[in-house]
Amino acid sequence: MTGRRIELTRSRRLRALLKQRALQPALMLFFLFFFVVALLSGLVGTPAGSHNFGMIFVWIVWWALLIIFLVPFLGRAWCAVCPLPAPGEWLQRRAIVRRTPGKPRSLGWRWPRRLRNIWLQNFGFLGVALFSTIILTRPYVTAWALLGMMFLAVLLSVFFRNRVFCRYVCPVGGFIGLYALTSSFELRVKNRQVCKDHAVKECVVGNECGYGCPWMVFPGNLERNAYCGLCTECFKTCSKDNVALYVRPFGADLLVRKGRRLDEAFKALIMLACAIIYNAVLLGPRGWVKDWANMETLPHWAAYGAGFLTANLLVMPGLFMLTTFAARAASRTRAPLKRLFVDYAYSLVPMGLAGWIAFCFSFVFVNGSYAISVLSDPFGWGWNLFGTRSVPWTPVLLDLALALQVGTLLAGMAFSIVVAYRIVRQHAETNAQAWRGTLPLAGFLTGVTLVFLRLYVG
C-alpha cells in the first residue's frame, strides 16, 4: 500500500493531451450522446429491461465497468467524463471548451457549512437504494431518475458556483470517492514546496488557461483521491507544471489519517451493508423479498424499507461499534471510541468494494450478452443497426464467475485485514497490541465474507 509510484505524465504526449481544453468536453459530449440514447430508451423504448439500451448499458455495462475497472484502477475517472453535471458546468462557464474570462457565473450562494460533507450523498444513496429494485426493473423510472439528477445538477449550478452537486450531492459520486481511496491511480502535485512557494494559487483561482478547481480542492494539499474529480483543470492552470498523474499501490489513501470523517465512515458501512442486501434481495432465492422490494404492495415495501434502513443505519454501524469497542480493548488504545470507529471503518472499504465487484460478476456473466442485441435494437422497436438484434441471451463462464466472486471476496477480506492492522497500528503502541486489536476487526470482516460466500455458494 505504500511504495513506489510511477509518474504517467512524464509522457509528453499525455501531458499535452491533458492540457488540451477540448479533452474533457469531448469526453463528456461522447458520453452525453449515450446518455441521451439511454434517456430516450427509458422514456419511449420498450419497457422490457433486457431489451432496453438504458437498462442494459446503465445498470449492467456502465455499472460493472465502474465498479470492476474504473474505480479500482482509475479512481474518480468517471467523474471527469460524467455527462450529468456537464450542462450545468457549461452554463456556469458560458462555454463548453474555451476559457471564458472571470469566474464561472452563478448566483454565488454559499453552500451551507453543515452540508460540506457527504451526509447528503449517504442519504441520497440510501434513498436511491431503497427504490433500486424499482429503478432497476423499470426503464422509465431509470430515465426519470437520471433526468432528475441532471436537473438537480443544473439547478444547483445556478445557485452555487463550481461542482456542488458532484462534491456534496451526487449519490454515485459519494461512493466513487470513497472507493477511489483504494485506487491504484492518483493525481498529485510533484513537489508540495513548489505549491507553497507559489503565491498565486492558479489551480484554485484559475488563470487564462483554465478554471479554478471546480471540485473546490487545493491540489497542493491533496493526499487522498476522495474529492478530486480528475477534471484536469489544474494541469491547464499550473504554470509550474507541478501536477502529475501517478500509478501507485492499491489502497494507499486508506492509511492517510488526515481527512478521515464520520460521514465517510458511515459511507463505508452503508456501502458494505447495501452490497450484502443487494446480493440477498436481487440474487438470492427468496422471491418474496424481491417482491417486497419491488413494491408488490405498499405495506410490504414499507416493511422492506424499514428493514433496509435499520440494517444500514443501526445494525451494521451497531455491530461495527461493538467490534471497535472490542478492538479498542484488545489493543489497549486510549483514543476515543468515536475516533477509532471512524478510523477503523476505513478497513471496510476494500471489503465493501470486493462485495460490489462480486455482485457485478454475478450479473455481468449472466446478462452481459444482452448488450450485443441491445446495441442493434436499443429501443426494442425491431431495429437491427449492426445485425446483432437476434443474438440470443447467453450466460457465459458461470463457473468462472463463481470462482472470481469467491476469489474477489477472499482477496477483499485479506486486503481489509491488512488495512485494519495498519490502521490499528496507527493508534497502538506496539505491534503485539496492534495484532490483538486487529483480531476483532478480522473477525468482523470474516463474518461479513462468510455472509457473502453463503449468498454465492450456499
Binding site: 452525453l32 441521451v36 462555454a95 471548451v97 429501443f379 422497436w381
Partner: protein, 342 residues
C-alpha cells in the same frame, strides 16, 4: 469564437436536439413511410397490464400488412386464427416478432396468446376485422357465428351446459386395440348407428356402451369397442397435431394430463370462475381424464363448448380462434384421456 467552441456547440445541439429528433422521426415518421407494406405495431402485454394494445385493428381484404408484436413483460405465445396456421411461437420479454399476412376474404380473425402468461391469460386476445375494400362500412361477420353443429344442437334443444354424467364407467381404461377385435367379431351385429361417424358425434360413449351391452358384450368388451369406435379411425398425425393445439391452448387450465389441474385452475378459482357444477357451487376446469363426466358427454357438445366457451366459467370461446376442423381434432384428442390408444 474559437473553432473548437463552435464545433462543441454544434455537437451539443446535435446530441440534445438532433439525436432525439432523428430517432423519433425515423421510428414514427420515416420508418412507416419507408416500409414496403403497412406495419401495425402491437404491444403484447399480460391482460392485467392492458393485454394487446391495440386490441382491435382493421385491415382491408387483399391488403398485405406486417403485424409487429413486441412483448414488454413476460413470455407470451402469439398466434393468429382461425385457419391461418400462423403461430409466431413464444416471444420473450423485450423481443419483437413480426409477420406479414394477407387476408383474402372479409371476416374476423383473432390474435391471441397461447402461452400461460398470467392469471388472466385467457383474456389476452385482439381482433382483426378484415373489411371489404369495396364496401368498408359493411358489417364484418366472423365464420364462427354460423356453425351448423351449434345450430343443430339448438334445433334439438340440447343444453350444452347441462351435466352429463355417465351411467356407468369402465373398471379399467378401455383399449382401442382390443376394441378393434371386439368390433371385428361383432361384424354386422354392431347396433344401429354406431358405425356412423355422425351418430357417434351426437351421442355419448356411455350411450354407445349401453347399446353394446344390450347385444351381449361384457361390460369391459363393450368399453373397448366404444374406444375403438371413437378413436380407431383417427390417425396418429391428427392426434399429434391436436395434442400440440391442446398443449398450447387448453393445458394451462385443464392440465397436461387432462386432470383439470393446470396452473390456471387456481387462478380461475381465485377470480371466482370455474365450471358450474350446479347453481351454488363453482368447480374447477373440466377434468377430461375423469370417465364419470367425460364418457357421459357427446362429441358435438364438447365441440360446442369449445367453440362457444363456457358461460361464466372462465372457459374462453375458441370458435374465434380454431376452424371447425381444428375443433373436431381437439374433441378427438379429448377422448385419448379416457381411452387407451396404442
Amino acid at each position: 469564437m474559437e473553432k473548437s467552441e463552435r464545433i462543441a456547440i454544434v455537437v451539443l445541439i446535435l446530441i440534445l436536439v438532433g439525436l432525439p429528433a432523428a430517432i423519433l422521426g425515423y421510428q414514427f415518421v420515416l420508418r412507416p413511410r419507408l416500409a414496403d407494406v403497412r406495419t401495425i405495431d402491437i404491444l403484447a402485454a399480460a391482460p392485467e397490464t392492458g393485454g394487446f394494445q391495440p386490441d382491435s385493428i382493421r385491415v382491408a381484404a387483399g391488403e398485405t400488412v406486417r403485424l409487429r408484436f413486441s412483448v414488454p413483460d413476460v413470455a407470451h405465445g402469439i398466434a393468429i386464427g382461425p385457419g391461418l396456421n400462423l403461430d409466431l411461437g413464444q416471444v420473450d420479454p423485450g423481443e419483437v416478432r413480426e409477420v406479414e399476412v394477407t387476408f383474402d376474404q372479409p371476416g374476423r380473425y383473432v390474435y391471441y396468446c397461447n402461452t400461460w402468461c398470467s392469471p388472466s391469460h385467457w383474456r389476452m386476445r385482439g381482433v382483426i376485422e378484415v373489411y371489404d375494400p369495396a364496401d368498408p362500412d359493411a358489417l364484418v361477420i366472423g365464420e364462427s357465428s354460423l356453425d351448423p353443429v351449434l345450430e343443430s344442437l339448438a334445433a334439438r334443444e340440447v343444453d350444452i351446459d347441462a351435466p352429463h354424467e355417465a351411467q356407468a364407467v369402465p373398471a379399467r381404461r378401455p383399449s382401442v386395440g382390443q376394441g378393434a377385435e371386439v368390433v371385428a367379431r361383432l361384424g354386422d351385429g354392431l347396433p344401429d348407428g354406431l358405425a356412423d361417424a355422425a351418430w357417434r358425434r351426437a351421442h355419448s360413449p356411455a350411450e354407445a356402451w349401453a347399446s353394446l351391452v344390450e347385444v351381449g358384450l361384457s361390460e369391459a368388451e363393450a368399453w373397448d369397442a366404444v374406444a375403438h369406435l371413437w378413436l380407431g379411425g383417427v390417425d396418429a398425425a391428427r392426434l399429434q397435431d391436436a395434442a400440440t393445439l391442446y398443449a398450447k391452448n387448453c393445458a394451462a387450465c385443464h392440465g397436461e394430463n387432462g386432470d383439470g389441474q393446470g396452473p390456471g385452475a387456481d387462478a380461475l378459482e381465485a377470480q371466482g370462475m370455474g365450471q358450474h357444477d350446479d347453481i351454488d357451487m363453482v368447480g374447477g376446469p373440466a377434468a377430461f381424464a375423469e370417465p364419470y363426466t367425460m364418457l357421459g358427454g357427446a362429441g358435438d357438445v364438447y365441440y360446442a363448448k369449445l367453440r362457444r366457451g363456457g358461460m361464466g366459467t372462465g372457459m374462453p370461446s375458441f370458435g374465434v380462434i380454431f376452424t371447425p376442423e381444428e375443433t373436431w381434432m381437439l374433441v378427438d384428442y379429448l377422448w385419448t384421456f379416457v381411452f387407451e390408444v396404442e
